[in-house]
């Protein structure tokens, strides 16, 4: 029986191996390659997506567990061509270097700001996504900028 889910707001289904991680369904079957493979063990966060609005590491999330749920990927974050304030903050702070981890960083930051609209330094320091280029200082700035924008204040 096919697994049915909502993918970036649209119905989708998958008839393959239910143990397949969501990451590889997204990349190889839905052809949404913005979600990246980094470690395969849920450690680095490059594959972070949202399941029902909460951050989830797609490389260790089997397809069977998302049946009936809503999955949002980096491709589904902007609405009608308008960037999410977190995406905009990433551009404003010129965060990406190689950029490979940034989809996961952004999805993680969106999740943080949804739970914690005014994050403390400790809240931000608790984020565990890896960046091999060392963009963390600019990520911190971008999160603070996005937090202000989401609360309707100016940076």
């Amino acid at each position: 029986m096919a697994i049915e889910l909502t993918l970036n707001g649209k119905p989708a289904d998958f008839a393959g191996d239910p143990s397949m991680p969501l990451l590889w369904y997204l990349r190889d079957h839905a052809r949404l390659t913005g979600t990246k493979f980094g470690c395969g063990i849920g450690y680095c966060g490059a594959c972070t997506v949202h399941v029902d609005g909460s951050a989830r590491r797609a490389c260790v999330t089997p397809m069977s567990s998302v049946a009936g749920h809503a999955v949002t990927t980096i491709e589904g974050l902007a609405r009608a061509g308008t960037l999410h304030p977190v995406q905009q903050a990433w551009l404003d702070e010129d965060v990406p270097q190689c950029g490979y981890c940034q989809a996961g960083q952004i999805m993680t930051a969106v999740d943080l700001l949804k739970r914690t609209p005014a994050p403390t330094d400790q809240d931000i320091a608790a984020l565990s996504n890896l960046c091999r280029c060392g963009t963390y200082p600019r990520i911190r700035k971008a999160i603070r900028r996005a937090a202000l924008a989401l609360r309707g204040e100016h940076a």
Binding site: D94, Q97, C98, L130, R132, C133, G134, Y136, P137, R140
Partner: protein, 748 residues
């Protein structure tokens, strides 16, 4: 390669009827034949061009380099835009493919775009003159076209914001001149370029051009490549160096839905060159990654261990320490260090140890290859497309001009992708499979099959005369040579990459000795993020602080005294031929000033400084740390001062120094690759713990306003980090750590 009379401009009509401008450099192997080559007729440019000005007003600038996170997709087109005299906001940047093609009779290989690889922080240095000339030449053509249109000598015209302006104020858009310009003969010789004061693009704080693609998930990396019918391959590689596949039972694998083929590939012969794939293995080909990975996990393989099965890091370290009993190869000798030692008032001597390091690019190695008879298509995250082109040619016999290579973004490089072993694997698998193949590595594959930063033990000795001045310096390095089983390094001595014979304080002390003791070990070695400088800086800059402490001198004053008067010294390795002592002193002074060096600090706080000359650029770090009694390290302040000459994109350059500093802290504190029973012990990120957000300090970057020609920015920011940190830890606690990584020793 610099511009010379041998290069020529190619002017042609774009497909949409506009102006297309490219250069063609004679390919290195055929440079002497290139003089006889003829300009092709003006035809459409199906392969792209450096500059395209379309009748609809679009201004498209081609980016030639491999974008690995160093920002060349932004900074190199900026150079063209400056001289083309267009505002940056009007420019669209397009990534160029690897541009090798055959032209003329007899056919000769020409490089359409010049150097396209990424390594050694050379992109800006190579491109600064060349690419400004590209822009200047395209602008020259547009001026000629406008002059013809108005019947005015072009010298009387000027340009601004993609328009040519008549002395009476009339204007013509580049777009309206493009068609005419495309019919003109190219300018001869080098054109004048702008004075720095006239820059409108260079020196601006420009954000990366594909930022929007990155934050929306639309940017393409090698791992995202797809061609119809391609199979995904994962490879179970022999975990033993020079081992082989003894037996494979793939019966369970073949039952997994989606698995299409299982095949064996051979590794290098023991002792042979490591210029192809690194290991023997069993490849599982499937319709998607997950099926291939499940298939791989279901394999039952017996490996034949290679001759290195007994090897371990602890045995290597013992061998390296024992090596100092012998004499090695002398890389540089000034005066007579042995005599200086005999007559010295005081001798200070210490030993430092540096581990193997893996690159751990966030995007694991991968390559997609489609072999179609006499043609091939390669899409991969690369740093050396020319190397990949040569390799595919050697392995398949397909002419290099018929090997199309796409250059998607790379998820990091750091030197890992200067090797193309993963391309070789894709070719081997595709040849056997008879289908297009995309090989994808897992993180475990990556950490265990790398060209690692060499392991080394450094023994440093300094002699002091009666007045406390350093008059002799000996730096002996017992290391696994970086030059290891590599055919293309035959001309270099084997200490290259491990010994920096002309690094500071060479030339600043009368008696100087640099010596290499080669220690054998079967792990592949390669280039790791500022390879030699990173390897050399930790022992040298730590030892300088140790001399200062032992002789009651201030560490900064000691360095400045040794550097002496500002002057140029010979420097043979990459970044030479000269190193300027005044510029080293300049970055040290700036870092010290910025951190308010010498101020009174709270208890358990300390400031450390270090500097290094890297690939033609100069950087110094200053760090203030606090170390609790329990060994908890807090980097209170971390800053870097750098002199990289004229800066093309300060926003990008600051990012490079910030990132390199964080990477440097990561490696200095926590990273090492170790071997036990002939296998790499680390498997995934938990064993190779890159810094996370919590451990990464803010980094203040100060770029010195410098009149010198630009060099890159990608690597200069890493070498001084580890010694600055070790020096700060010593200043805070009195504990001198002489082994990397530092982290495990802090709580010991």
């Amino acid at each position: 390669m610099s511009l010379s009379r041998r290069d020529f401009l190619r002017v042609s009509m774009s497909a949409a009827g506009g102006l297309a401008v490219s250069l063609a450099w004679p390919h290195r192997a055929a440079a002497e034949q290139a003089m006889a080559m003829k300009l092709p007729p003006a035809v459409s440019e199906p392969l792209g061009a450096f500059v395209r000005i379309e009748p609809d007003g679009r201004i498209v600038i081609g980016a030639r380099g491999c974008e690995i996170g160093q920002g060349v997709r932004t900074s190199l087109p900026m150079l063209i835009a400056e001289e083309l005299d267009v505002s940056w906001s009007a420019v669209t940047v397009e990534q160029l493919d690897y541009g090798l093609e055959e032209r003329g009779t007899p056919p000769t290989l020409v490089s359409r775009y010049g150097p396209q690889g990424a390594g050694g922080s050379t992109s800006i240095r190579d491109g600064f003159d060349e690419l400004r000339q590209v822009g200047a030449r395209a602008r020259w053509l547009l001026l000629q076209a406008a002059g013809a249109e108005w019947q005015v000598p072009p010298e009387r015209l000027r340009t601004q914001d993609a328009q040519v302006i008549h002395p009476d104020g009339r204007k013509l858009r580049y777009a309206d001149l493009a068609r005419r310009a495309a019919t003109l003969a190219a300018p001869q010789g080098k054109l004048p370029v702008k004075e720095q004061s006239a820059y409108r693009v260079i020196g601006q704080r420009v954000r990366i051009v594909d930022g929007r693609d990155i934050v929306t998930g639309a940017a393409h990396y090698g791992i995202d490549a797809a061609v119809p019918g391609a199979l995904t391959a994962v490879i179970a590689r022999c975990p033993y160096f020079d081992g082989a596949v003894a037996e494979v039972d793939d019966s369970d694998t073949r039952r997994i839905p989606g698995v299409r083929q299982v095949l064996t590939i051979e590794g290098p012969r023991p002792g042979a060159s490591l210029d192809r794939n690194l290991a023997a293995g069993v490849a599982v080909l499937a319709e998607d990654f997950w099926s291939a990975q499940r298939g791989r996990q279901a394999l039952r393989i017996k490996w034949t261990p290679g001759p290195g099965v007994q090897e371990s890091s602890s045995a290597l370290e013992q061998r390296a320490l024992a090596a100092f009993e012998e004499r090695g190869k002398i890389a540089r000798q000034d005066g007579d260090f042995a005599a200086a030692r005999r007559s010295a008032t005081r001798v200070i001597e210490h030993t430092y140890i540096e581990p193997f390091l893996a690159h751990a690019t966030m995007e694991p190695p991968n390559a997609l290859i489609d072999l179609r008879g006499k043609r091939a298509l390669l899409i991969a995250s690369l740093q050396s497309p020319s190397g990949a082109s040569r390799m595919v040619n050697a392995m398949t016999g397909i002419a290099r001009s018929d090997i199309a290579i796409k250059l998607p973004r790379s998820g990091g490089g750091f030197g890992r992708r200067l090797a193309n072993d993963f391309v070789a694997e894709a070719v081997l698998v595709a040849q056997k499979a008879g289908a297009p193949v995309k090989v994808i590595w897992t993180r475990e594959d990556d950490l265990q099959n790398d060209f690692y930063r060499p392991f080394g033990v450094h023994r440093l000795a300094a002699t002091l005369d009666a007045s406390g001045r350093v008059n002799g310096w000996s730096h002996r390095v017992a290391a696994t040579a970086r030059k290891y089983r590599a055919e293309d390094m035959e001309d270099d001595p084997d200490w290259v990459g491990c010994v920096d014979p002309d690094g500071f304080p060479a030339g600043c002390v009368p008696h100087y000795l640099a010596e290499f003791l080669r220690v054998e070990f079967p792990l592949a070695r390669g280039w790791w993020h500022a390879p030699l400088p990173t390897f050399a800086a930790f022992p040298v800059e730590s030892f300088l602080d140790e001399i200062a402490a032992a002789s009651s001198q201030d560490p900064l004053d000691l360095r400045l005294a040794l550097l002496g008067s500002p002057r140029e010294l010979d420097y043979r390795d990459h970044g030479g031929p000269k190193v300027h002592t005044g510029r080293i002193a300049g970055v040290l002074r700036e870092a010290a000033r910025r951190i308010d060096y010498g101020r009174k600090l709270p208890p358990r706080h300390g400031i450390g400084v270090a500097s290094h000359f890297t690939h033609g650029g100069y950087a110094a770090h200053a760090m203030e740390v606090a170390l609790s009694g329990a060994g908890e390290l807090n980097i209170v302040r971390c800053l870097c001062a750098a002199d990289i000459g004229e800066v093309v994109n300060p926003l990008g350059a600051e990012a490079q120094f910030m990132g390199a500093t964080v990477c440097g802290i990561s490696a200095a504190l926590n990273l090492q690759i170790t071997v036990r029973d002939g296998r790499v012990e680390q498997a995934n990120f938990p064993d190779y713990p890159l810094l996370r957000m919590a451990g990464a300090p803010d980094v203040e970057v100060f770029l010195i306003d410098s009149p010198f020609p630009p060099v890159g920015a990608g690597e200069m920011g890493i070498p001084p980090v580890a010694p600055a940190l070790a020096n700060a830890i010593h200043a805070a606690s009195g504990r001198r750590l002489r082994r990397l990584p530092l982290g495990p020793q802090l709580k010991g």
